[in-house]
Amino acid sequence: MSGLVDRHVAFVEALRAAGLPVSLAEDVDAARAITRLPLDDREILRTAYAATLVKRETHRSAFDALFDLYFPALVGAGRTAREDEEVGDDAGPQDTGPALKDFQQRMAEAMSAGDRDAQLELAIEAVGTFGFLPGRGPRMSSFSAYQALKRTAPEELVAQIVEGLMSRGLDEDSARRRAAGTIAAFRQMVEGDALRRIAEEKGAEHVAKTTVRPTIDKLDFSSARAADLEQMRREIYPLARRLATRLTQEHHSRRRGPLDFRRTVRASISTGGVPLVTHQKPKRPHRNELVVLCDVSGSVAKFAQFTLLLVFALRDQFTKVRAFTFVDHVHEVTDHFRPGADVADVMAELAAATSQAALWGRTNYGRAFSKFTESYADALGPKTSLLVLGDARSNYSDLQLDVFADMVDSCRHTWWLNPEHTRNWGAGDSAAPRYAEIAPMVECRNLTQLGEFVHDIL
């Protein structure tokens, strides 16, 4: 039992290190929960830990990764090891030529049959045989998922799997989708198993520190991979909805307008004519016009798109929203955001429209600002809030600080969102500190910061 307690404590520590807020009370709950359960099923243990320790769905992937490290499904090569020993006497190396061919053949069969257990065993075998990196001494060897996947090359089998699935009565379209899904799942199995073995060699703490990624709402826009971006995009609408709900509730709780005489008297009748509770008229909400001016050059394009989507998802909080993109030229993109438009389409249109914001393709903030005042000066007025998005990296060109200062003066509020970490402001060609003297600049690197910022300005 003491071994289990140590494991439990180490696991909770690792969860905290990964950013999950696990309180002492929850820790105790988890320990109580696992004593009430049959411990012969790993999935039940996982569920018990998840129910007691993880209170937010976005934390679930980090939890699962750590759970696999601290409570691995098997030790060493597991069941596949025995088979290896049986054929171990054969001449020749295990991981080249015919062995590889044979492995690919078995992999294709398992994948077209849709046999998950067989696939899992193959993944374990792939890491053990093809992903093994021998070291000089004990505890120096390691495993590489990259190596294993590169050598076994599951992608080469797509055609074969599709054929296999079609012979089972699927049409080509769904066979292709199924094959792609199976291979992606196999890659994940291999990656997971490699991590498990490294954790076994070097300790779970070591792996937990280096491999667990931040949750999607804390992930930097700049370090997001393609799959992360898609997930973030799916988060935009829920985020907007949460913000809108929170805003309405806060506005309601702050509605202290003038006394509503009629309602107060009406309510006093139920207390015998004594006005115990006063009722106020709701305050009229104060709404701004918003102008968004965003840098869409390569380095910050993703960040700009997210912010634009979020702003437009919240458009009913403003009287009017106009959006402009720039690289070294300014282009209006307001038209792309039709009410109820499809997110994926809007993103594609925005990407296509980027070329119209660039003449030479080198970011030039100074030129963009002066072009903006030339062509769209009417967009700014005393009721307007101006939101500038960009990293303020202007390729050492003329910054046109006075033009920007004029723009700021003509608006009610100005904010500048910078997707870079504060410590990088002013490094290299970044003009962030100089622009920050004119307009308040806010660091905004992930969805959480973005959500907080948008909430604060509304």
Binding site: R36, L37, E43, E57, Y237, T245, D342
Partner: protein, 289 residues
Amino acid sequence: MTTWFKTPDHAREQLDSTGYLADPATATTAYLAGELGKPLLVEGPAGVGKTELAKAVARSTGADLVRLQCYEGLDEARALYEWNYKKQLLAIQMSGTGGHGDAAPVWDDIFTDEFLLTRPLLTAIRREEPTVLLIDEVDKTDVEVEGLLLEVLSDFQVTIPELGTISAVRRPFVLLTSNATRELSEAVKRRCLYLHLGYPDAERERDILLTQVPDLDRTLAGQVVETVARLRELELKKAPSIAESVDWARTLIALEIRDLDPEAVSRTLGVVLKHSSDHDRAIRELKLL
């Protein structure tokens, strides 16, 4: 203490027998909630069976369901208890006409059980029979109501200043549901077990359809599940959930459609997708035209 379920497997069998097909995680968590005597917070998209879970727990254990539907502006008087002031006024007037002087005893008398109107939270706590307390859509309330819930959720008691503290005679099985439109406070989350209900896998969803829509044919159910699964992969504003697939299956039965071909899908797509942009996207991606 009541035993709600004996083991995780028992929980699963019991829930199955009422027609709620729970996955292992749901069954285990429901078992734990009963065993540890902790409230269970269920979160997930609309229409995946969160409220239904509470009803199934009540049905399978023979308990009664007490429901508190949350909405914006819900307050103490409608969630916990209220003094029946009309009755209190009458009592004061009655005693006033009776005689002079002794008004003091009346002031004590009007704060008794007789004048107390219990609302769902207090009702659930005072019941002596097994009770399932469902606090539905807790994210719709104001933050202050969460504070009100804390005492109930952690100690299963309610403090009424005039009467004192009323503790639970028998701990109810508390289930809170949330659509996550708002982040609940850490204090509430800390006191609850947490379960995220997502979309079920294909096989379970087919079984759910077959239990909910008895006339449904197996192959048609398979087709519905497969199409819905594809729709969920698309980037939609509102992905169809189980409630929508059940509606869809019922629609197909009503229209006597036996085979879900592209034409049938595009004719009945309105049952599953509720946004016009989602509609357009689905038609384009599934190549329906």
